[in-house]
Every structure is written in structure tokens, then in C-alpha cells.
């Protein structure tokens, strides 16, 4: 009975998605650990890291899709939430270095030593304590999103204006984190991590574990998102997206609905960032750069907005392209490719890859119940 409801809720495409993720989660570790390098089934650690990175991006994309695809909040500042989560994790990892920094200082991270800080800034207190750090992973982006959203939605800043001030938000943070006086390592950011919960971040085992965790996190995110969008709350979100003032006249407090989804989306982005940092091994202000946030939006657009699966797919496709195009003779063309893709997607397939797929399918089956249709 319950499972039935679950299946209904996830609907076909979602199941495929979850199945694929499960497959990855099982096969990649086996391929990496069980098969020796050289074996055709071997998955190099490099690939594990790369996939892990993609998955965190996919999470960010799903979060963004929740706000944009379903509620029409086009945030050009989601990179900021991602980065904040990342910094929270990074600060924990920095504190774990302990005396193993090049200066062997018991408390202070290296960059603080050579900028001769005398003691640990208050912002860093408690980050050596993992649960606190994890709490901040959620709170930092969550609170920012709450305050920002509360102001913006209450005063009915919508559409373009909202997008632009979210951009201003991430830009301001971008500049702020570059300042060394902020005490977050300035341009160099946080790096040279040693271990997480006592496990060496470089170790193969740790990497694989992180990968598995990321898979689980993405699945969790997806399921939660599905539950949300298929509840009445989700229906109201779509109503807001399609006809905001009409929804108001039905007696819905649009600003509350938006605020909830925005904060939630920000927190998911934060978690994604937190998983991202230990895998790529660095977090630096450039994660706040407006271009990054826009790129994330593009992932969603490419995959198909308003279809959670599509968002994840888009993140994968675009980032794989990036990896592929930035090697060898292709290097000088990859910006053309990326730019071209954006234009192509917006012109040729406004509903993204999945949308296109639906249109083709739509000719045969009635599309009313498909999420792809919902996103129209």
C-alpha cells in the first residue's frame, strides 16, 4: 500500500533516475576497489572524484529547479548558498588539520599564521566540532535565504528584479570573501585538507565513501523534492508560477509559500556544497562569482526546468561537456560550445532535453499527468 503510493509519487521517470543512481552507487565503488587498475572494469579514482563532483552539481541543480522550475523564482545567486555550505565544511576540514599545517600551529590555519592573526576569529569557533559544522552547513545558507527571501517576497519583488538582486547578493558575498580581512582565506580560500572524521580525504576508501554519500544525498533530495511537488503545496507553487496574483485572490499567502521553498532550496544547495568541498579539495570565493550561478541555471534549462530529473541530467551533461572540451585542441573552442549550447537550448528546446523527449512522446500518449507537461 505505502510502496504503491511511493511508486505513484515518484512516477516512472523518477524510478529510472533512482535506479541509475543506485547502479552508480554500487558499481562505481566495486569498479574502483575490487578491480585492479588496467582491468577493463576498473574505475579510476579520478573518475570517482569527477562523478562525485557532477553529483553535487546535480544536487544544486535539483535545488534550483525546485525554486525556479516549480515556483518561478529565478535565483541568480544559488551559487552563494552552495558556496556557504562549502565554506562551512571547509572550515571544519581546516580545523581538522590541527598541527599538521606547514607552521605546525596548534589552532590557527596556515593562512592565519602568515597574516599573523593572534587568535581564532569568532566566526571559526566550534567548527572543529563536526555536528556544529554540519548544522552550519544548513543554517548559513538557510538563514541567508530566509532573511533575503523574507524581505524580497514580502515586498513582492518578482521576476527580473528578483533575479538581479539575487545576483547582487552573490556578487556582494563574492567581493566580501575575497577580502582577506574577512578571515576566510581570501582568494586562496580553504585548501590542503588532511582528513574528515579521522579518515584521510586523499584515501581511496574515503573518496569512495564520499561518493556513495553523495549518491544517497542526491536520491534523498530527489525523493523529498518529489514529495513536495506532488503535494498540494507543490500544486500551489505551480499556481504561483503560472498566475501569482490569481493565487493571492484565492487566499494563499504567496510570500510564505515562496519563502519556504526558497529556504529549503538554499539548504539543499548548502548540503551539495558541503559534499563538493572534500571531493574537489578546495573552496574559494570564485564559487560565489555570478557567472557560476548563471551556469547552474543553465544546467537546469538544458535538462528541462520543472522536471527534477531533467535538472540533474542537465548538470551532468553540461559539466561532462566542460570536462571533455577543456582538453587538447578542443580547449580554445569550449567557450564557443558552452555558449552555443545555451543559445541552442533556449531557442530550440525551451523545455530542455526532457521537454524535447516529452514532445516527441506526447504525440502518442496523453501528456496531462507528466511532470514535463506540468512545467509548461
Amino acid at each position: 500500500m505505502l510502496t504503491m503510493r511511493f511508486l505513484k509519487l515518484i512516477e516512472g521517470r523518477g524510478l529510472v533516475f533512482l535506479a541509475v543512481l543506485t547502479g552508480l552507487m554500487l558499481l562505481v565503488p566495486i569498479g574502483n576497489l575490487a578491480f585492479p587498475p588496467g582491468s577493463p572494469f576498473h574505475v579510476s579514482t579520478g573518475t570517482v572524484v569527477l562523478l562525485g563532483k557532477y553529483l553535487t552539481y546535480a544536487m544544486l541543480a535539483v535545488a534550483l529547479d525546485l525554486a525556479w522550475g516549480y515556483c518561478g523564482i529565478l535565483s541568480l545567486g544559488h551559487g552563494a548558498f552552495f558556496a556557504l555550505g562549502g565554506y562551512a565544511m571547509g572550515m571544519y576540514l581546516m580545523r581538522q588539520i590541527g598541527t599538521r599545517g606547514v607552521y605546525g600551529h596548534p589552532v590557527l590555519p596556515d593562512f592565519m599564521v602568515f597574516l599573523n592573526y593572534k587568535e581564532l576569529p569568532m566566526t571559526w569557533w566550534g567548527f572543529d566540532f563536526f555536528p556544529y559544522a554540519m548544522m552550519m552547513v544548513l543554517l548559513a545558507p538557510g538563514l541567508l535565504a530566509f532573511v533575503f527571501g523574507w524581505l524580497a517576497f514580502r515586498s513582492r519583488v518578482t521576476g527580473v528584479y528578483l533575479s538581479i538582486i539575487t545576483q547582487a547578493l552573490t556578487y556582494a558575498l563574492f567581493l566580501a570573501f575575497f577580502r582577506n580581512d574577512m578571515g576566510f582565506g581570501g582568494n586562496n580560500g580553504l585548501t590542503d585538507f588532511k582528513d574528515i572524521l579521522g579518515f584521510n580525504v586523499q584515501a581511496q576508501g574515503t573518496r569512495v565513501t564520499l561518493f556513495v554519500l553523495t549518491c544517497l544525498a542526491l536520491m534523498g533530495t530527489f525523493i523529498v523534492a518529489r514529495v513536495i511537488v506532488s503535494s498540494t503545496y507543490g500544486k500551489v507553487l505551480i499556481a504561483i508560477r503560472d498566475a501569482e496574483s490569481r493565487t493571492r485572490f484565492l487566499g494563499y499567502r504567496v510570500e510564505h509559500y515562496k519563502l519556504v521553498v526558497f529556504v529549503l532550496s538554499a539548504m539543499i544547495a548548502g548540503v551539495a556544497g558541503a559534499l563538493y568541498v572534500p571531493q574537489v579539495g578546495i573552496i574559494n570565493p570564485s564559487e560565489f562569482s555570478p557567472a557560476n550561478s548563471i551556469e547552474a541555471v543553465v544546467w537546469v534549462a538544458v535538462g528541462g526546468r520543472g522536471t527534477l530529473v531533467g535538472a540533474a541530467l542537465g548538470a551532468f551533461v553540461v559539466n561532462y561537456m566542460k570536462t571533455f572540451f577543456t582538453t587538447g585542441w578542443l580547449a580554445s573552442y569550449w567557450l564557443f560550445a558552452l555558449g552555443g549550447l545555451f543559445v541552442l537550448v533556449t531557442l530550440a528546446m525551451p523545455k530542455g532535453i526532457l521537454g524535447l523527449y516529452d514532445q516527441l512522446r506526447g504525440k502518442f500518449s496523453k501528456p496531462a499527468t507528466e511532470p514535463g507537461r506540468e512545467a509548461a
Partner: protein, 432 residues
Amino acid sequence: MTNMSFTRRGVLGAALGGAAVMASGVRPVFAQGAPIKVGILHSLSGTMAISETTLKDVMLMLIEQQNAKGGLLGRKLEAVVVDPASNWPLFAEKARELISQHKVSATFGCWTSVSRKSVLPVFKELNNILFYPVQYEGEESERNVFYTGAAPNQQAIPAVDYLMSKDGGEAKRWVLAGTDYVYPRTTNKILEAYLLAKGVAKEDIMINYTPFGHSDWQTIVSDIKKFGSAGKKTAVVSTINGDANVPFYKELGNQGIKATDIPVVAFSVGEEELAGIDTKPLVGHLAAWNYFQSVKNPVNEAFIKSWKAFKKNDKAVTNDPMEAHVIGFNMWVKAVEKVGTVDIDKVIDTLPGIEAPNLTGGVSKMLPNHHITKPVLIGEVRGDGQFDVVWQTKDLVPGDAWTDHLEGSKDLEADWVTLKCGNYNTKLKKCG
């Protein structure tokens, strides 16, 4: 595909390289054996492309010339170019790709400190070699990295000494202006400590930081002007980075700050940057480097000649980081030839002590701390965008990884030969 494009270029470039074999256009015959791959990790797009692209080209040229000479250990050298696109995580990803996928024997790359910091863990984990060609803040010495750019003591401090000298104009009052990131921060800390030690009063030092790509310099330049009118000879030490320099110098020129009144000595402005500025108003302002294109000697002239040929552009300029790559590459080649293999560990252990001629007429040496010896030159900007060398150190200055002017690092030293440690604490007599 990659290889294709480069071997084709190879023929051409080598021919320009002017090797006897090539004159006839015959391909050199390589002994059996897979080519030796060399990674090139420089941003070709994004904000840093402005500086890094030429470094990629110089590496391609060097590799071609080496191939023209018959390659290395009778094997052909093959360049693997990747574009980290000025995106720091991507640097790490690409480094991993170069090492574990393309199996490169050494990598030449990075410009900003953060890009180096981002790839460091990868090079350590996968144990490979990185040659880092840019002047930097020091405070680092890693087993897998060889720093061919200047450490602070090979650039900043001699420059200040010069400005204090009679010929430098006996500066008494100092403005330390920099972009707000680690290199300027550290350099300025070192300089401040040094100046105070030299008896400069605290109120005679003004420190100012600006963001990357800062474009509106009106206020700061006029502040400098004001600061400079306290009746003491004033000099500006600029660690302003890349893009921000052009508007800065344009503003200096417009507000009529002449080098004779307030000289500005820059650590990040070379021929490349000046190429973007009309230098007539800037004549007499200074730069401190370990190499200038205008240095007169046969080695340098030959290099410039082949570079211009390679770029098919008679206006192409050379600069300090390019020289660093030249030195680094030659050192690597020598080391490989010496041990007769590209085995990473062997090469790492052989490199210290290896000598290679630099382009300023001297012979640089790789030190146990993985930094090299370099001369320090002070150049004055000329009207034509080149520099006149007005002062240079008698002999080569050894690069010091850990400066003696900072609290944290004065007891540290790096030695990968005897101590096998990058941060040996001489007080506690232990590593790290």
C-alpha cells in the same frame, strides 16, 4: 588528434628553431619508445588567459625545439595541453586528468597562488612534478613542486633597497599598494617588517588593498599624491595584479605623477602588461624582475628571435615567467638525461643541484628547497613599452622559501636533499 596537431606544428616550429636537421625539413628520427608526455596546465580562457596563454605557447615552442634536437632519451616529447579556464577546482580536475589519464612525466603550469594551492594535493597524492614559473609569496616548499619564479627575497627586498639607494632617489616614505590576495599581503608584510627594521617610521608607511580588476583609481592615486607631499621623498611599491594595472597606470599618467616625483616600482608588471598601455607618461617608473626582454646578451637575443618566429609576430614580447619556464624546462631535461629515465622520484631527487643557463647571462641552479638562484634586475619603463635595466645584483640570489621577516616562518627551512622536509623547524629540530 592532440598529438597530430602538435607534431605538425613540431616540424614547423623546430624548423624555425633553426636546428640543422630541420633546415632541410626532414623529420628527426626518434629511437623506438613511446613519446614522453609533458603536461601544460595554463588557463586559455577566463580571466587569467590574459597572462597564461603565452606561457602555454612558450612551452610548446620549447618542446618543439627539444624534439628538433632529437627529443629526450631518444624519445619524442609530446605536449598535452589542457584548459583549466581560470577555474580553481577545474585546475585540480585537469591536473588529475594529466597525471592519471595522460600519464605525463612532468607538468608545467599555474599562475595564481590559488591555482597552485588547488593542484598541490593532486600532485602529492599521485606523486608527479609541477614546475611553477611565477613570482609568488613564498611560505611553501613541496617535494613535488619546483618553483622557478621569484621568492619575495628575489624581487621585493632588492627593489626596496634600490629605491633607498642614492640612484633610486633615497626614498624615505613608502606606499605599499596591492591587490587584496595572498601574494601582495605577504609581500607587503615582509616589506613592512623590513622597512621598519631599516628605521622607517610607522606613519611613513601607507598600505592599501584593492579588489581584483579594480578599475577606478582616482581616489587612491590622489591619496598617494597627498601622502607623497609630506616633504619626504616618497616611493610606491606596487603588487597590483594583472588587469588592475592598466587603469592604475593610466590614472597615474593622467594625474601627472612623474617618476621623478613619486617613482612606482611594480612586481607584477612586465613587458606583457605594458603592451596594453601607452607608456610615454610612465617613463621612469620601475619594475623588479629576474629578467627583462631588453637584456642584451646572445642567449636572450636568440630566444627572442625564435619566439617572434614561433608567434609569427614581430611585436611579440617576452617576459619573466616565460624565462622561468625556459629555465625550468632545461633543468628538467638535464635531470632526465642525467638519470636516464623519467621516473618521477628519480627526477625529483636529481633536480636539486642541476644548473641551467638563464636568459640574463648567468647560470641558475636548482636549490635543495626546490627554488632556484636568480639575478634581480630593476628596470625603468621606456617610452616604447620596454625596460631599461638601471640596476642589478652583483651575483645570483638564492630563492628563500621561508622568509626571515615573518613571525611564523623565520625558524622554518626547506631542504629536500638532506632533511627531506619542506618545513623543518630549526628551533624544535623537527619537520613540520
